[in-house]
Symmetry: C2
Subunit: 338 residues, 2 copies
């Protein structure tokens, strides 16, 4: 039984760990795959040290087998499951409004509480969802980011025929683009990393690549109107400066990226065109169910997003490589190898 621990200072160490003991209502899982996510990179860089405990275990994009589960949960040993990694208070304004995933006292498994970067993991059985047999392990490990994408597209109210621009073609941007395309939108992704541009094009997505003038492209593409919906998924200040010029009157900006610092925003453009911007975070149960259905039906293609599989012992190098950029998309930790 191994677990990987966060030691601060851009350091993860993998070592032996005690076997977790499930508490009331919890299932014990054998972890198969865990994805490395942008949030994990923020943790790695220390941006979330106010939330992430030292010696904590990350990992919130997890595929696992059930080892044991409470009888009342309906889950049986051997079933493949994904984990909605949230603990909520049930009492705050967000929980009472039906936005429990925004709970004022939210605890994320893989941030505030132990995540999946360990061989065995005890989690509330109520947070498990079954994975259809049609999905391979790599694909199933990408269901969590796909649930982010279904949430983002639903919240942005993307409609058939909409001109949708996705700023940033990493895993989340690519998934948003595919979900929006499935809804009948006309989708363009802006991405500068040539490795990612290749993957996006192989997924059949239209890409505005490095060196292209994005604003001129959008002007031509939309006949001077601007895009109906822009998703900001880059996390960089230049995209935030540009985004307001790319949206039509009454258009929508979906703020998916995590921006650690306040950034300059063209508020005059919000006024002049009556733009709307909303934040979009995490997911409800319905977003997970939609994600599983889209993946299982093949409406969204997940396998090409996985650029590499690494053993748990290589988490540190995996984080460094992912942060460095270059030829990397979704990196999965494979707990079944070492």
């Amino acid at each position: 039984m191994r677990a990987s621990y966060y030691h601060g200072n851009r350091t993860f160490r993998t070592g032996p760990a005690p076997m977790p003991t499930p508490r009331d209502g919890e299932a014990l899982l054998r972890v198969r795959r865990v994805g490395i996510c942008g949030t994990d990179l923020h943790i790695f860089q220390g941006h979330l040290d106010h939330r992430m405990p030292l010696n904590g275990t990350i990992g919130h994009e997890t595929l696992a087998d059930v080892v044991e589960a409470p009888a009342a949960s309906g889950f049986r040993p051997g079933e493949r499951v994904v984990v909605e990694p949230l603990k909520v208070c049930g009492a705050c304004r967000a929980c009472r409004m039906g936005a429990a995933y925004l709970c004022y006292r939210l605890r994320v498994l893989g941030v505030e509480e132990a995540g999946g970067m360990q061989d065995y993991w005890a989690v509330p059985a109520a947070r498990l969802l079954r994975v259809p047999a049609a999905l391979g392990d790599d694909e199933a490990a990408v269901i969590e980011p796909l649930a982010v994408a279904t949430h983002d597209v639903r919240r942005a109210e993307v409609k058939a025929g909409d001109a949708v621009l996705v700023l940033g073609g990493g895993p989340i941007g690519a998934l948003i683009a595919m979900v929006a395309r499935h809804r009948g939108a006309r989708v363009v992704v802006s991405e500068v990393n040539p490795f990612r541009v290749d993957i996006l094009r192989k997924l059949g997505l239209e890409v505005v690549g490095p060196g292209q003038d994005l604003e001129a492209f959008v002007q031509t593409w939309t006949g001077g109107d601007g895009a109906d919906v822009v998703f900001e998924v880059t996390g960089n200040a230049a995209a935030v400066r540009a985004m307001t010029d790319l949206v039509r009157v009454w258009g929508t900006i979906s703020m998916v990226a995590i921006h650690g610092e306040p950034l300059a925003v063209d508020l005059y453009r919000f006024f002049a065109r009556e733009l709307t911007m909303h934040g979009s975070r995490l997911y409800s149960r319905a977003d997970w169910e939609e994600a599983i259905a889209l993946a299982a039906s093949g409406a969204v293609t997940l396998a090409p997003l996985v650029s590499r599989r690494i053993p748990l012992e290589s988490l540190q190098q995996g984080m460094e490589e992912t942060l460095r950029g270059g030829p990397v998309m979704k990196v999965l930790v494979d707990l079944l190898t070492s």
Copy 2:
């Protein structure tokens, strides 16, 4: 026949002018009152020199008498009217979407085209609305900003019981507060100018004044939740930095103020609480009709907002005084005196 002209360099000059000749579909008006607005102060300071022609005439908050009007318009000489000061192209994306007031080729009477700061004024008869006899001249001259406020409150979907925070208690902020209160919202206005605080309190509004800790107040007021809707009407950077901390999960920020420069916005808070911000500008015909109805019924009290009346010859001093702040709320130019 006098008109006031913008000469750039913070200068308006009033002098003799040729009598306007109405074109097809236009009415000739005798102007009674014109309000000085925040947009006019932006023009005064040169912020809108890219839109405002030299030797142009400002004034878009106008009350007038009809001198003559096309028979087909239904307007008769002597009727008191207010003017929806917009010319739209009818063909762009905004016009086609039913957002003609956001026309991509919008021309505002009082900015791109001649406004009401003149004794006689020719305007499209289709842009006139009758003023009920119940309203005095001062009140009627404030219908235009009231239409801004009805628009802002409608667009923010303020509901009965909502905790509504208005940042900035100038004329627009005060009107938004009164319209929101009429909808049954619980309203608080944040304002630092003691003269304005006095007027707001006389209007029965709850005010967080200078020296008070706004964030602590909102925490207590909303039981830690945050406000349902925040209107940003100050136009200053500190309010923009603070606004995101004052809103509840899934809450709304309405961007009413004109911010000439991009400003730092806490985008992490948009993400974390799934906040929504939208711009809010001008008005539709329905917003004008609601404004006239609210004013005529007494649901919104307008007279206390008028802090001063000046003759056209004093426009220059009126602009300087309004810009300086201090004991000033809505200043009206009275064209019937000199």
